[in-house]
Amino acid sequence: MVKPTLTPTQIGGMLLLAALACILPFVLSNYQVFQLTMALSYAIALLGLNMLTGYNGQISLGHGAFFAIGAYTAAILMDKANWPYWATIPVAGLVCLLAGFLFGLPALRLEGLYLALATFALGVAMPQILKYKGIEHWTGGSMGVVILKPEPPAGLPLNQDQWLYFFTLFWVVVLFVAAWNILRGRVGRALVAIRDHPIAAETMGINTAIYKSLTFGVSALYTGIAGALAAIGVQFASPDSFNVFLSLSLLVGVVVGGLASISGAFYGALFIQFVPNVADHISKAAPWAIYGVILIAIMYLMPSGVAGLLRRARARFAGKAGNRVVAPAAPAARDDVQLPISGKEAG
């Protein structure tokens, strides 16, 4: 099967997006640049979670734990070992890869809701684990770790916030290109096959066990890197930063953005970064009720997430223009496949 490549329109769109991403920090205030930096970190985490939940059908309610591990890895390396901030990112990723893989191995026996509960346990436990006396010397206990804000390299006409934005953007590009390459090929098809019909996938010769635990590992790697970037952005890591609500928000972001969609990670990230603020602005008395209403509205109006809605809009627009060359081939390998999660995992 031929790997689908990008159409000229798509390439054009991406260039436009890249240009926009580079211009934004110069027209927005520093505070808004900071918000975008946070949204970019969330986008990386959401992409990681989407690999696991959207593509592979394993539901995780505890990815905040990997976010925390990544954040603390970066914070401790910077604070205790005086590492430069940029060197801590790959290490945070690798630590989480290992943690995710090890957690993924026993989790193989658990499916659907049971896996969701096991990961939930991890997410709930993490803030308290971080306060544990034995590791307090490193984690700072409940007081957390304060990180110095990175200075832009000498000679660049950027302030700290702008530099951090571009630093995060760099990782976004690297990790999204990597994910796009992984997910559109054999590996991506294998993941989707395992999600849709594990027995059939095994019959086709896919090593389900390895794939599932590796997916867990890679997913954790993405989330850990996101956590490290977010901690550097906030300049602080403490157990209260990574409560179970973070894990739930990440899952919300994945579903709102669009399951099994790479671009959905951005929409989801914008949602979890900005919608709570919008809700707070609409009603001071019950912001979370407003948040809930927005969430329900989105689920009702965009059952396949923002990415799904845009895809449908695009298809209809293309249809009206009499141009029906919407590639029907290899749906599983497209960035934006729209496959419902099948029976068992849908739980």
Binding site: Y31, Q128, G141, S238, S241, F274, N277, V278, I298
Partner: protein, 402 residues
């Protein structure tokens, strides 16, 4: 379907662009004083959110009465869910977008730790933070940050002085929470009991917030033969400790419970009111449930305020008394500004409070600050539980290493 989709796009567009426009309208000229704060309106510490609501009601009252010499106060109070990353985001919004003149009573030790360096780098007055950690009073390194609460360390010093004076041969057993808060109170005790007096502390035990009970710690402390129990616990553990001390048959002649763990509702009632008899703690503001203050003028005024401006607020919640006092102090600072509400002047006035009194503080306790002292409250009075209510006794005491 078509309309649905259009609606969706509208909602989507609003969701995406909204945040960029919100609050972008900057205040023109100086028509109002802008204060900003973050509060845990949602999340694990949401019970404290009432402080922020009370502040808003209080400044509504001030504005209804004509403001600060004619200038209205606009308090922008944002939810941070007790999550430090959210605090950073909201405080940056307040400072960079809303351009507040000062921050007031941002709540929580981790939340304030996360913004400590930032607000000092930005030179924004970081006034009267709602936490008791001692580190907020450090004008040398953090000239823009001001504490408010009686610092944990000062509280420890007060108990130590009381012990030295009344039970100079005491053998003290300490149970404390293993974090900054617990260590802070203990540090106060040890500041006073140093040198040859350090021997007075015969046993120490810690617990983690994650522990289920403190039973084994209590038994260890009891076995040390101590005759004075010093309980530095948060409410749940404080209640457990009081009950366990009693049930184990240990009747230490002196049992001190720090202010954090001395609430009637969340500690003494669960522990057993009669089991708590004789316990000593400190207070610095009036207890709204204490019948002594039933007809007190300041208390009546406070009740009137609650009824008129904050009817949803709980009049049995000490946080609402606390919030009222802090808002009064903030108002005093703004009055002292004399029309010049620059950040420099607000900071200068915040460190120029001299013997300022609130009717809700215990008689004799005054608010004092200076360029080298950013801790407004450093006095308290001892109080003993008689089985039915707290009874204040002795003089108003201050900290310091005796």
């Amino acid at each position: 379907m078509n309309t649905n989709r259009r609606k969706t796009l509208v909602i989507g567009a609003a969701a995406l662009t909204g945040p960029f426009f919100i609050g972008s309208a900057r205040a023109q000229g100086k028509k109002e004083i802008k204060l900003g704060q973050t509060m845990p309106y949602s999340g694990p510490a949401s019970a404290y959110g009432t402080i922020g609501k009370l502040h808003q009601a209080y400044f509504k009252k001030i504005n209804d009465e004509g403001g600060i010499n004619g200038t209205k106060v606009n308090l922008i109070s944002l939810d941070d869910g007790y999550s430090p990353p959210k605090t950073v985001e909201q405080v940056r919004k307040l400072v960079e977008q809303d351009e507040v003149d000062a921050l007031f009573q941002t709540l929580g030790t981790p939340s304030n730790t996360a913004i400590h360096k930032y607000v000092n780098a930005k030179k924004v007055p970081h006034l009267f933070v709602a936490t008791g950690a001692t580190k907020w009073n450090d004008p040398k390194n953090y000239p823009w940050t001001f504490g408010f609460n009686l610092a944990y360390q000062t509280e420890g010093e007060i108990y130590a002085k009381y012990i030295l004076k009344n039970r100079p041969n005491a053998k003290i057993a300490v149970l404390y929470q293993n974090d900054d808060y617990g260590k802070d109170v203990l540090a106060g005790l040890e500041n006073v009991l140093k040198g040859d007096k350090a021997k007075m502390i015969v046993a120490k035990a810690t617990y983690e917030v994650t522990d289920a009970t403190v039973d084994s710690q209590i038994l260890t402390l009891k076995a040390s033969g101590a005759d004075t129990m010093f309980n530095i616990c948060t409410p749940k553990f404080s209640a457990q400790a009081i009950r366990r001390v009693y049930d184990s048959g240990w009747r230490p002649p002196l049992h001190i419970v720090n202010n954090v763990g001395a609430s009637v509702g969340s500690v003494l009632i669960p522990a057993g009111l009669e089991k708590s008899e004789g316990i000593i703690t400190v207070q610095y503001y009036k207890d709204e449930s204490d019948p002594v203050w039933k007809d007190d003028r300041a208390m009546l005024e406070w009740r009137g305020f609650m009824g008129k401006f904050y009817p949803d607020g709980n009049v049995n919640d000490a946080s609402n008394v606390y919030g009222y006092i802090t808002a009064q102090v903030m108002t005093q600072v703004l009055r002292q500004c004399n029309g010049n509400f620059s950040r420099d002047n607000i900071k200068k006035q915040a460190e120029s409070l001299k013997d300022w009194k609130s009717g809700l503080l215990l008689p004799g306790i005054t608010v004092n600050t200076s360029a080298t002292d950013h801790g407004p409250i450093d006095q308290a009075q001892l109080s003993k539980w008689d089985g039915k209510k707290w009874v204040l006794f002795g003089d108003v005491l201050g900290g310091g290493a005796a």
